[in-house]
Each structure stands twice: as C-alpha cells, then as structure tokens.
Amino acid sequence: MSSRTREHIDGFWTMIDEILNAVLFLLLGLQVFAVAIGPGAIAAGLLSIAVVLIARLVSVAVPVAAMSVRGPFKRGIVPVLTWSGLRGGLSVAMALSLPPFPARFLILAYTYAVVVFSILAQGLTVRRLLVYHRIADDVVDG
C-alpha cells in the first residue's frame, strides 16, 4: 500500500467514523422518548447517578490505596479517575435490549440518567478538573 493510498483510506474511514459517531449521539439524545419521564424516574435517576459515582470512587480508591505501598501516586488521581468515568451508548443499548418485564422502565431511566449526566456534566468539566490538579496543561484543543 503506497503512502498516498494509506492517506486516502485513513481519511475515508475517519470520515465514516465521525459521521457514525454523530448519529450515535443523536440517537442517544432522541432516545429520551423511550424513557418515561416523571417525578419517580427523575428521583431514581438522581439517586443512581450518586450510587454510580460512589461505586466508581470505591473501585478507584481501593486499588490506588493498595498500590500506594509501592510508591506514591500523583496527587488528585482518585478524584480525576472517579470523575472521568464517562459512559456512552453501549449501556443504553444494553438496557434497551432487555425483554419487557416490570422493572424495565426503571432500569432504562437509571441508565439513561447516568449516561446523560456522565456525558454532559462530567465530560464538559473533566478538563477543568485535570487543570486544577495540574495533570493537564491549560490548553484548548478545540
């Protein structure tokens, strides 16, 4: 494969990748119709966001604490790794593939709330957290 061919194939698949990614997140946003929104679902969603964040904190803090005996980690590694646990379309797809049973709408509401919170709240603020803990430089990457 010549370098020119490689360049064109790379450009082609990058383009396809970007388009499919845009459609994936579009579908994720339109999927809100599948979630029965009500006071119960919103409360369940908020609770599940808290539960998932605490579970993530534990699952990060315990290995970090265990491995700290071999030498210290960078400061702020636990909050950064906790907050940067972003979730995508796969969790929602798995929740949607459940067969109909009574708790299906609840599972869907939990999952959807966690995914949307992780993409919109965590995804848009994680850079500031990295800069605050001096793990990334304050550069804008577009």
């Binding site: 990614n21 845009a22 997140f25 579908l27 119709f33 993409i119 848009l124």
Partner: protein
Amino acid sequence: MTGFDLAAILLAIAAIFGYLNHRILRLPPASGMLAVALVSSLLLG
C-alpha cells in the same frame, strides 16, 4: 418507511444539529450533539 429513508433522515438531522452546535453552542462534537438532540426532543415531546 424503508431503512434507506431512515438513514437519510438520521443523517440529515445529524447534519442540522451538528451545524447548530458548531455555530451556537460550541460544545465538543459528541456532547453538543447529545445536548441539541436532548433539548429538541424535550421541546417537541
């Protein structure tokens, strides 16, 4: 509606929403697409 129609509709909506995000919201592409789709769904629904 055929699968072809569906793909065409989704691509067109993705293009419109992506443009809106690029011009108005200026969020990163994936988050912006999700935000525009979510807000417009809630407004319509």
